[in-house]
Every structure is written in C-alpha cells, then in structure tokens.
C-alpha cells in the first residue's frame, strides 16, 4: 500500500517537471520574439517635443490674456465676468477650428499643448460628435461625451469629496 502511494507520488513529480520544462521552452521562444520587438526611446526627439509643447502652451496662454484684455478694457466687463467670457470664447474658437478641419494640423505642429489646455476638451467633444452625424441628432448627442466623460465624472466626484472633507474639518475644529 505504501509502495503504491510512493509510486504515484514520484509519477506526479515527474509530470510536474515535464510540464515545467515545456513551459520554459515555450517561454524561451516567446521571450526571443519579445526581445526582437523591443524599441528604444528616442530621447532627442522627446526633448524637442517637450520644448515645442512648452512654447505653444505659452502662446495659447498669451492669446487667452489678449482676449481677457479685450473684454475687460475695451468692452468694460467685470474682472470675473471677463474671465468667464474668455473661457467661453476659447472653447468656441477650438470648436470651430475642429469643425473646419484645421485643428489636427495644428496639433502636429504644437504637439501636446493643444490637447492639455481647455482647447483640448473642446476638440474632443466636437470631434467625437462629428463622427456620428449621419446617424441623426440622437447619434450625435449620444456620442459627444465619449472621450470627455471621464473628465466630468472625476471632476464632480473630487469636488464632492473635497467639500465633504472641508465641512468635517470645520465641524470638528
């Protein structure tokens, strides 16, 4: 009885060993191909892209200041009101440029500056809706927030969380 158990035990050990050897052979083939497909980062090109994004981000900010000055000094709105109007104007301009079809050519020049600022949000909303206009008004409305949905959900949730913490702090302290 004990010898039978011993034989079964050694048989199982051998099978596990064979399975491990086969896995190693398969993984070696897989690792050989994975090593072939690795690519190196081009640091010189990355540095050039960072500098271009920095430069064009500054240019967009200067453009925003210019519009703020128009609303504040020439059209004589309040400081708060002209900030709101400046944001709305920039969103409108990005939407119109996306609809004409120039915006992705601008992004090729200015790299990620045009997609991080508020202009990027307007572009994602407009371009996602444009794709579906052959499916009618329902198609456009369903798909407008496809890429911007995460921004809105996370923004609302973090606002609720932070205000809750502030309320607790004011009650306790």
């Amino acid at each position: 009885m004990v010898s039978l158990l011993k034989k079964v035990y050694f048989l199982c050990l051998n099978l596990v060993n064979i399975a491990i050897i086969i896995m190693v052979i398969i993984m070696k083939d897989r690792n050989y191909y994975l090593n072939l497909l690795k690519c190196q980062n081009d640091y010189y090109k990355m540095l050039k892209n960072f500098l271009l994004a920095f430069l064009f981000g500054g240019i967009i900010s200067i453009f925003g200041e210019f519009i703020y000055d128009i609303y504040n000094k020439i059209l004589s709105f309040n400081s708060d009101e002209s900030i709101m109007l400046m944001y709305i104007s920039i969103i409108l301009i990005s939407g119109v440029l996306t609809a004409i079809g120039i915006y992705d050519n601008l992004v090729m020049i200015g790299k990620s500056a045009f997609s991080i600022m508020i202009t990027g949000f307007a572009n994602s909303v407009t371009s996602a809706g444009m794709d579906y206009h052959y499916e009618g008004i329902v198609g456009v409305l369903l798909n407008v927030l496809k890429l911007a949905g995460s921004v809105i959900v996370l923004g609302s949730f973090s606002a609720i969380l932070v205000s809750f913490i502030l309320y607790l702090w004011s009650v306790i302290v």
Binding site: Y33, S112, G120
Partner: protein, 320 residues
C-alpha cells in the same frame, strides 16, 4: 498547413483607389474612384460595388456565371460585405483575417476551383481610411500626436477572378497560418506586432515545400511598416544566406516618410493585383511569394489588458 494546387488560374484583376494612392509611386496601375458626397461607409460600399461591376463588364460576364465569392474587410461584423452582396446574386463566403484577408481569400478560392467544385470564383477585399480610424482608434478630427510607428490605412478595393481556364498566371501553393501571440500589447505599433506571425508562417512554408528564399524572384510581406521590415530582414539573413529579394507592400504604396508605411487589407490586394500580375505577365518574374499579415486587434480585448495576436497566410503565384 500547406496545400499544393494544380488547376487554378487567375483570369482577371481590378483595383480601385482614391486620390492619395493614385498620386503615389504605383498610381499608373490603378483606376481612380472619386465620390465625395455621402458618409464614409457609403463610399466604401459604392467603391467595392463599382469594382465588382467593372470587372464583370470588362470580361462580358454575368452575375450568374460566378459560382462563389470569397473575401472580407475590416468593418464591424463584416457589414459592408453584406450591404454590397445584397445587390448581387452571388453566394457569399466571407472571412475575417484583418489585413491578411486577400491571401486567405485567394487561397480558398483556388482550392475549391482546383477540386472542380467551383468553376469560377471571385475574391475581394476592401478598406477605407476614415472607417478604420473610427472603429479602431480615435475620432477622425481628434487632435492627438501620432507616434512615429503609426501606419496609414489605405482606401482601396481589390477584386480578382479565379477559374479553370488556362491563362498566363497560375496559383501553385497555399499555406494556412496559425494564430501567434507573444505578449505584445502596444496597439499603436501594429507593424511590429505582426512580425512573429509572418516569421512563423514563412519558416513553416519553407520547411513544408522544401524551398529557400533564393528560389523565388520576389518575396513580399503585407504591411509591416519600416520598423517591422528591418526586423524580418535581419532574421531572414540570419537563418538563410544573402536574402536580397524581399520587400514590403506598405512601403511600395506611398512615397518615403509618409507615416511609417501603408496598412490595411487593400494594401496587399492592390500591389498583388497590379504590380505583381503585370510583372508575371511580361515574364520578368517567374515565381512570387506573397505573405500577408494581420493583427487580430479588438478594442475590448486591449481594454481588458490582453495582448495582440497575429496571423499570416502565404500564396505563391507562378507564370506559365
């Protein structure tokens, strides 16, 4: 899995392209299709239907003369094939193999024709740039920096007729490939993702037919982009000596430095059914191997953090 085929001949071919490909290096072999009035899916449907219509009219054939149509394209659930073939009266066998559809379709048609089960078969494929971008990547006007490894899907419809009638070009061998997955998971670099599939299918074909790369006048892979092309060239030079008759279809279709090359099922179909057929008819080449590669890419699977497998099929054409 290799099949030897002995009684299938290529009767006629036709390729329709859009403006960018017509102005490229191979533009003189293509016909131009210009339609700017409806949605992108409508344009692809009309382009494929016109291509089939043109080839039937050129050879004085009727829809009832064709026994079978084999092929596929990149849309969701192959919707565009259904919309085209509801207007034609031809039995349909549609397959999905991403960008390697044309060699699978040509091989299957030749198998059935050489067995004398089918007298005349039609193989087709089609792709359109904006439809593929909408399905697989970002919206068309979305401003995102494109990586240096991204390829450009071509807008091409390619159709061919295979039958028992003796002509100058015959299909002599067909190798079915397997799905190969090595754990590569970057969906913006599909050129490199298809390299393992291409290499495994090439090795299996050379082993089962007992040939080497120098026995062929030209070896073409599908759309491996300029990075994948370098990797496969180095690997072939390591295992076989002095391979200098190997090139890539995606690099032939557009001029240098246009993204990283061409892509899509129409790329291989257009080069195969225009440049290669022309050289075989004028007896400049005698034996050509086409290895079309496809990345079986699905946004749901990539979202769940699975890797991207690849597949590849091989067809050999000879001049008689």
């Amino acid at each position: 899995m290799n099949f030897k085929i002995d009684n299938a001949y290529l009767l006629d071919v036709n390729v329709l392209c859009s403006k960018l490909e017509f102005e490229g290096p191979l533009g003189k072999y293509f016909n131009l299709y210009d339609d700017e009035k409806s949605s992108f899916e409508d344009r692809e449907i009309n382009m494929l239907y016109s291509c089939i219509d043109m080839i039937l009219e050129k050879n004085n054939l009727n829809e009832s003369d064709i026994d079978l149509a084999v092929g596929g394209e990149l849309s969701n659930q192959l919707g565009i094939s259904s919309q085209v073939f509801k207007l034609l009266n031809i039995p349909l066998l549609n397959v999905f193999a991403a960008c390697s559809t044309i060699s699978l379709a040509l091989g299957l048609t030749s198998l059935l024709v050489s067995d004398r089960r089918v007298f005349m078969g039609l193989c087709y494929t089609s792709s359109y740039n904006q439809c593929a971008e909408k399905t697989f990547r970002f919206p068309i006007e979305y401003g995102v920096c494109k990586e240096c490894t991204q390829t450009f899907t071509s807008s091409i419809a390619a159709v061919g007729i295979v039958s028992n009638i003796k002509t100058d070009i015959k299909i002599s061998s067909f190798t079915l490939g397997k799905v190969i997955d090595v754990g590569f998971d970057n969906p913006l670099d599909l050129g490199r993702a298809m390299v393992p599939g291409a290499l495994e299918c090439l090795y299996e074909h050379f082993k089962e037919t007992d040939t080497e790369p120098k026995d062929y006048d030209l070896i073409l892979t599908g759309d491996l982009s300029k990075y994948g092309y370098e990797i496969v060239k180095n690997e072939l030079n390591k295992n076989y000596d002095n391979v200098n008759n190997y090139y890539d279809c995606g690099l032939m279709l557009y001029s240098n430095n246009f993204y990283a090359g061409g892509s899509g099922p129409g790329t291989v179909g257009s080069v195969l059914f225009s440049y290669v057929v022309d050289k075989l008819k004028n007896k400049k080449y005698k034996k050509v191997l086409i290895c079309a590669t496809g990345a079986l890419f699905n946004t749901t699977m990539v979202g769940q953090k699975k890797s991207i497998p690849s597949i590849s099929h091989i067809v050999v054409l000879e001049s008689v």
